[in-house]
Every structure is written in C-alpha cells, then in structure tokens.
Subunit: 215 residues, 4 copies
DNA sequence: TATGAATGAGTCTTCATTCAT
DNA sequence: GATGAATGAAGACTCATTCAT
C-alpha cells in the first residue's frame, strides 16, 4: 500500500514517511553546514551522510540549492531562537547588566552564524535565494537586530534611557559583537573563550556612556 | 640559449624574468578578484587573462590556492593602504570631524574587502593559509585596526580624549562600519550609497559621547 | 476484499479491471506520442498523465518499451484507419480525381506518422519489437499500402487501367507522398500547407501518365 | 615546447596535432553513427572509442552536440559524394539506362543515410542545428535532389525529354527509392539485396512512361 | 494489487593538474 | 623554462526499475 521507507528513517515512527525523509535530509545538510560552507556541500556528500542514495534529494527539493538554502535558513533560525531565549526585558535589573547579557548572546550567535552567512557572499544565486527565504521567514536575522532595538525602545519608554538614535546604537552594538566573533574566527587572536567574552564589559561600558550622555 | 621568456613579459627589462612572471600572475589574479570571488577563479581564466599558458602557474606556485592567496593578500593590503591615505592625524580639526573621516574610510574599505575575506571563513585550508600569509606581511588588516588605535592614543596624549579603553572603542568603531558594509552587501537594505554613509554621523556621535563620558 | 482498483479507472464498469488499467496506460501513452516522440517519454510522465502510480506499468508490461511500442502501434493503426476512411472506390469519378484523394490522405498520414516511425529506425531493439508487433496486428501500415494496391487492382478489373506493375506504381505513389512529408517535417522547405499539398497534382499527373502509357 | 600529443594520435605525422585530434574525434563519432543514432551517442562512448579521455572533446567542441552534428554532416556529405560519383550525364546511353543508374545510386544512399537522418526527427535541437549546418555546407542532401533535377533538365535541353514538371518527377523518383530503402530497413520485407534492387526497373519504367507521355 | 519513494547507474560538463615537446 | 593539450576525477541531475507496505 505504502511504498517502502528509506533505510535511513526506518524505525522512525509517528511521522509521515515523506516528511521524515525530507526532514532527515535537511537535518543532515544542516549538520554538515557546521563543518563546511554551503557552496562546498555536494549532493553526494549529503546523501552519504544521510545514509541515502544519491538521487533522493530530488524527490523533495527542486535542486541542490533548495535543500541547502532550507538547511541554511533552519540553522540560522535556530541560532536566532537560541539568542532570543532568556533575554532580559526592559526594566529588569540594570541597563549595564542587561546589555551585557544581550552582548553575550549576540557574540555566541555570531560565533556560530558568521561562517554560515560568510560563504553566501561569494555565491550570488545562493545569497539571493537565502535573502528571499529569510524575508519569507519570521525567524530571520532581522529578528535579532529587532530584539535589541525593541529592548532599547522599551528602556526609553521606561525613562531609563534618553532619546538617542536607537538604530545607530544597535549598529554599534551588533557590529562590535560581530567584530569580536570575526576576529576570533579568523584565528587572529588566539584567545580563549574567556578572553573573548572578557572584552564585552569594556564595550558595553563605552556604548552605555555614549547612549546616556546628554550631548 | 637563455631560457625563453613568456610572451606576456617579453620586452620587460631590468627584472629577473622569473620574478616578473610571478608578479604578472599575481597582478592578474588580483585584478580578477575585483570581479569574482576567490573560489570562482579558474586557473585557465587567470592564465588567459595574463596572456600566459595554462601550466606556468605551477612553476611559481605550489598550486592554485597559493597563487590565489597571494593575490588575496596583496589586494587586501592595497585596500589597507588606500584606507591609510589621507587620514587625519591626532590634533587635526575636531575629534568628531576626524572620526567621521576614519569611519568613511573604514566603510569604504569594508565594502571592498568584505567579499574578499568572506569566502575564506568557511574554507579552513584557504583561511589558514591566508592568515599565515598575513602574519608574514607588514600590510595586514591589523594595520587598519592599529591605525585607529594609534589615532585614539594620539588624541589621548594630546589630552583631547580621556583615558578610556581604546581597544574596546576601536572594536565598536570598526564593528559598526563593518556591520553597515555587511548589511549593504547582503542586499538586505536596498540603500543608496548616500543613505549608507549617512548613517555614520549618528554612530560617531554615540561613540564619541561614550568615549568622552567621565563615568 | 477484492483487490483495490487504481484510482484512474475506478467507477469504470463492465471491464476486467486489469484490462481497463492496461488500456488506460496505452491510451495515455498514445496521447503523449502526439506531442513527444517515443524515446522522450518518461515512465513518470506517462504515469502522471494517466493519474496512476509510477510502478503500475510493470504489472502490465515487461518494461517501458513494451508499453511504448504498444502505444506506437495503436497510434499508427489509428492513422491508417483515418487514412482508410472515405477513400474513393474503384469506378468512382475519374482516376485522376481518385488518386488525388488518395495522395492527400497519404500525405496527411505521413505528416503525422513519420515522426512516430522515425525514432525507431535507429534503435534496433525498439524497431524489432515494433515490427513484430505490427505483424501481429491487423492494422499495420501495410494495410495502407495494401489499400492503394487494391484500389489499382480494382481499377484494372474495371478496365480503367492497363495491366501495369501495380507494386511499382504503389511504391512511386507512397514514396512521393512520404518524400513531401519528410521534406516538410525537416523544415527544409518553409512551405505552407497549401504549397505542400499543391505539389500533389503534378505528381499524380506524371504517375497517371506513367501507368496509362502503353509502352 | 609543444604540449604532449594524445596517445590516440601519436605516431600520426604531418598534421597539426590539434587538428589531428579533432579529426580523430569526428572520425570516431562518424564511425559510431553507423551503429547508433545520433541522440544515443554518449560522450564517454565516443571518448572510449577514440581511445581518449572523457574531457577532450570539450577542447575542440562547444558541447557534445557540436561534435555529433559535425560527424553527422560529414557522414551525410560522404554519402552524397559517393552518390555523386560516376553518374551518367545527359546524353549518355539511354534515358532508361541512366535513370536506372541514378536509382541504384539513390537507393544505396538512402539505405545508408536514412538511419542517420531518422534519429534527428525526434531531437528538435539536434535537427535544427543539423539543418543549419547543412545550409552552410556545399554538400548537403539538396545536392542529391539537385543532381537529378539537373540531369533531367539536361535531357530536356538535348530534346530527349519533353517539358514535364521536373520537380514532381524528382519527388517521385527520390521518394520511390527512399520508400524501398525504408521498407528494407524496417525489415518488413525480408528481401535480399537482389530483390530490393530488382524492384527498380519496374519503377523506372513507369516513371519514364509518365514523363514521356504527351498528355 | 496498487502505491510511489528509494535506488543507483548513467548523462553531460568543468577544471586543477600533469607532462611531452 | 614555457607551452597548452590531455587527463580524469568530480559535480549536479535524470530516470527506468524495484519493492516494502
């Protein structure tokens, strides 16, 4: 009645088999993205890692890029979700304490997410499709910038922050954490994680002073 | 009797012919990097653009990557040199004016340099070789961060700036300009150049306030 | 309890279900042959067009070729049947008028049938199976040559035609119409249909003269 | 100085090596066309038959089809040239004798050429490129029809043939020989070559009578 | 018996690298 | 040393056929 299931998802129950395989492929590709960048993934590599035959992916995706993009978006989304968890809310504790928490989460996210986005800059088609997909997706990277903007606005409404240019502040904030991540990833600084995250307080201090200053 | 010179460098005098050819290859590859990213370059494309035969490069480089890396480093160096030119010195004009000049130069550099570095992040081998090469090279990207650090220290020595954490300030500064470049390159903001550079003053203002604040 | 019927033939009554499905597949393939040539048909395409699953065809045919051949034969037979309809009979009108009618019908048939047969000439296996099938089939293409032979014999019996070599005359007749069709199909002559059919009278005239000549 | 030569053409002298290999590829493909039809040739098959590596053909042809078309045109040209050889001229012997010679040559040509052209009818792109190539080529198949037309015109100028519709006569002539070839190739008639060619006199007789008749 | 997903051999094409000349 | 053609290992993608359900 039903067609046979691929060996890779045999034993898995409760799913629509087709969905299970599709998911399995995306999961596998997502896993490989931790090691290789998107453009370097080959269909055979994905198939082999998924313990599936070479041609399967074309039963679920129009082409290789569609699978890769899907995995990319999912991975990125996961990072944003992780970032989003347990963030302080406007009014919590102190501004400094909160911004420090935000900066730690942002640095973590960039450490994992930068390699993913990086490879895209060189493949125009992949980049275009990735952007398009993100725009269609609630969990884009904008979400992450948006969170910070919202937090700052929230603090402004509470009167804990003057009426500064919130966008500029956010650019400084996300830029700095990305810069730390990039420097670390490029291996230019052989720092330990402790040293890396240790740079955050100094950054937050200056930024906070800049925001609070009555100029 | 003496070995034949490649057609591309015939007529060139005063050089060691071998060196001339090597340089010619690097120059050609560097030129192509302005249009394509590193991984998209083919050896044949480089050879043809250099008006040389396909095989020559293996007489001067261990493999394609070695040539590409060398060209990459040279191109990056050139961007840094361009950045380095005509920058204000400590004591010039006002701090705000100077930092704005720095930020414009940094944004320009990142717009050109980011695509070059981007592809490297996900190719471990290429990245490693690139880093190694930079460390051997006086004109690394550190130079550019270093310039900003030096400028800020200079202003401190002149008493125009309090004794803040200069490294943190630099991270904020370079991070923000890189962030603007990245957002622009990813096409997420369809801004004009004017809008892009128009975001700099707001950023500089906050940063400057943050630095000047006596906390 | 009784085996499930395929969705495509559900509701159909009075047939052996198995036969119904087989027929449905052949009909579908035959329909597709009007647009694509035999070798370009994919099993999935046929299955989808038939609203059946990919694998069914292997329950009724040894392989794809068997189905395709069967459809091919059926389509060819249909063309011959169409040719066969409304043809003049010996004694009707004039010989010239009748031969013109035959030639028009033959040209039409070739325009539709040539592409079908064409692909077979170079695929030994397909060709062999096609021929075998035709020989087993009452509506072969021979029927069409046979019709002309019979007509000419009929006219001979009526005394309206001398005792010429009817087979040779038929070869000339069918050959000329096929030649016109082939030239047209190969796009070598960008003629309109009118120009194409307009060549028939000249051909019929010569042929008729050749037959009538007392040599 | 010069690059190495492919093993397949080593030892061959006097040619430009590049030309030699290109020719070797075309020759090989042409040879294979005797067994398979154009669309069924694979690049690997050609390369293996030519005792060359898989990728060579792309050094000399834009793609597979360009090679195949070239081989196709060459093979077709060869057939036409063979047809063209030793044909009687207007005024030679008798009309009957001459037309018989023409018909034998035409039948031979069609026996070899039909399979070649046949496969093209099913591949639109291949067909289009083939036609285009023929139009650019002096030795097209038109040449062959043209020869017959010219011969008939020649006889008309000599007064040995009345002023009939030469084009229609040619269509009958070439059509009949093609029909014989087709029937033979399709294996519908298990005739020997003798039987096949034995049908020509009857055909020529009728055609000649048709042409000569003063209607 | 019908289903339709899985299979994997096979297709064309690209390109870094080698090496006879 | 320089040449540039030859090599052959990939790469993405297709599709006839099988077979667990």
């Amino acid at each position: 009645m039903s067609p046979r299931r691929a060996k890779a998802v045999r034993g898995r129950v409760g799913d629509d088999p087709a969905t299970a395989l599709r998911e399995h492929l995306i999961d596998t590709a997502e896993g490989l993205l931790a090691e290789r960048h998107a453009a370097a993934l080959t269909t055979r590599e994905i198939a082999r890692a998924a313990d599936l035959s070479d041609g399967v992916l074309y039963n679920y995706f129009a082409d290789k890029n569609e699978l890769v993009i899907t995995a990319l978006v999912r991975r990125y989304g996961r990072l944003v979700v992780r970032f989003d968890a347990e963030l302080p809310q406007p009014g919590d504790a102190t501004l400094e304490h909160n911004l420090l928490a935000y900066s730690r989460a942002a640095l973590e996210m960039h450490l994992d997410g930068l390699p993913i986005v990086a490879g895209l800059l060189s493949d125009p088609e992949l980049l275009r499709r990735f952007i398009d997909e993100l725009h269609r997706n609630p969990y884009g990277p904008q979400l992450y910038q948006q969170r910070i903007i919202e937090y700052l606005h929230g603090e402004q409404r509470l009167g804990r922050l003057p009426a500064v240019d919130v966008e500029a502040a956010t650019t400084l904030f996300t830029g700095a954490t990305m810069m730390l991540a990039l420097t670390s990833l490029m291996g230019m600084a052989g720092e330990t994680g402790e040293e890396l995250f240790g740079q955050l307080p100094g950054i937050v201090t200056i930024l906070l002073n800049g925001i609070n200053a009555r100029s």
